[in-house]
Structures are given as C-alpha cells and as structure tokens.
Symmetry: C2
C-alpha cells in the first residue's frame, strides 16, 4: 500500500472548480428564469451584443455547447424575436446572426441580475488576488485545450 493515504477526491482542484461553477450555474438559472432566459440563451445574447454577426458554430464555441445545441438555442431566440438570422450565407455556409431591438432590451434587463452575481462572487476573493485568479483559470482551460 501507499505509505500515505491519498487525498480524497473532494480535495482536488477539479472538485473545487466544479463546486464553484455549479453554484454559479444554479444562481444564474434562478435569476434568469423570471426573464424567460436560460443560461445558454443569455450567453448567446451577450456574445452577439459584443460581436454582432457571429455564426452558429462560433456562438456554440463561445457558449461551450455543441453546434446542435446552439442551433436549438438560436431557434428559440429567433422564435421569441430576440435575434435575427440571415437567410443566405455571405461566406461559406455560416449564417450571421444579429440582436434585434427586443433582444437588446431583454439582454440589458437580464444583465443586471447576472452582473450582480458576478460582482458578488468577485467580492468573495481578495482584490489583490483577482488578476492571478483569472490568469490561473485561463491557464487551466488552455492546458486542457479548447
């Protein structure tokens, strides 16, 4: 046997990462429900606000879901009149998507909830360590690849 008992899985970085992410996800679900938005839908609106004209595949990568899932998300947003997809492709098969005025309004309302959560979460870490924390999270993601 090993001379020292192995650290329990709940002590490992992956578990702690998952716990924090899970807590945030729960709170976002709660906060976004009154706005009629799911987390992927909100993420999509946010991405389109920052980079109008993104394609389905690009949005999927940005929201960390598959192209198929994003296709469903976009269909829902388009049915609700929050986004508008081009019918014809300008380049390749990619169909650029844009926010509608309704979409922008809905995003701004939902943003208050989400940003408040992010501020609350950010406040839990000492300010002097925030930059390092962001750096390390990015390094972890990069190390594990896309």
């Amino acid at each position: 046997m090993a001379q020292h008992t192995t650290a329990p899985a709940t002590a490992m970085l992956g578990y702690r990462l998952k716990r924090a992410a899970s807590a945030l996800r729960s709170r976002m679900d709660e906060g976004l429900r009154p706005h009629g938005l799911t987390v992927p839908q909100y993420a999509t609106l946010e991405l389109l606000d920052a980079q109008p004209g993104l394609s389905n595949a690009e949005l999927a990568r940005g929201a960390f879901v598959t192209r198929q899932s994003m296709n469903v998300v976009l269909r829902g947003l388009a049915d609700g009149g929050l986004v508008r997809r081009a019918e014809v492709s300008e380049h390749g098969r990619a169909l650029p998507t844009h926010l509608t005025d309704d979409g922008r309004r809905r995003l701004e309302a939902a943003r208050d909830v989400v940003f408040a959560l992010d501020r609350q979460m950010t406040a839990a870490v000492p300010g002097r360590r925030l930059a390092d924390l962001l750096t390390d999270l990015d390094a972890m993601a990069a190390e594990l690849g896309r």
Copy 2:
C-alpha cells in the same frame, strides 16, 4: 451613455470559471467513456469510496445534481453491479449505499484517468498560488450558497 465602455461579459470571472469547468468536463467525458462511466457516475463512486453508506440525497449534494438525477445515477450503477443499496432504512427514509468489489475496481481504473487530468490542470497554475486558488474557489462557492 457611460463614459467608459463596460467590460465584455467574456472578461468577467463567471465566464472564465465556466470556461475552465467546461474544458475539464469535456476531458473527463472523453476519459471516462472507455470505462463505461459518466461524470456523475464517477463522482458518485468516488464519494462512496471516501464515505461508505451515504444516502441518495447526500450523494446528490456531493455530486452537484438533484436527488432525482442521483436516483437515476444510482439505478444505473446498481444495475451494473457497482454499488449496492440497502433495501430497508436504518434511520429516516435514507437508504445507505455501498461500493461493491466490482465498483471499487472500476473506480480505481477510472481514477487514473481523472487524477491525471487533475494533475495536468494543477500543473498549469504556479505552485505557490495553488492554495490561494483553492481558497478563492471555495469562497466563491460559499458566497453563492450551497
């Protein structure tokens, strides 16, 4: 309008957290598939190994899913002969669950893959900052509640 443009949502802590967690999840899915385990199933085995006799509800909290989802997970593990649930309750309605020998063997095999991922991810952050990183992740989770 605001005098300065607001930071894009992709620059916020929540997004970086999600990206890291999503990357880890993808890699765990890939690594566990050959072992015939899903991430929640693996997490459940790991929890039961550390704390034999946990109930369905306790496992659900530990694996960050609902009781209903954990119920399905346990059913799958029990059908595969990896865990064994008590038929009668010792205290309240809670039904203690234990690993079988097969379950322990399967866990140990899968553990190699998961631990390797955790080590790889951990190696991406400077050793002197690891303790702070864990502290901050825990503080974020605690601040957002359960």
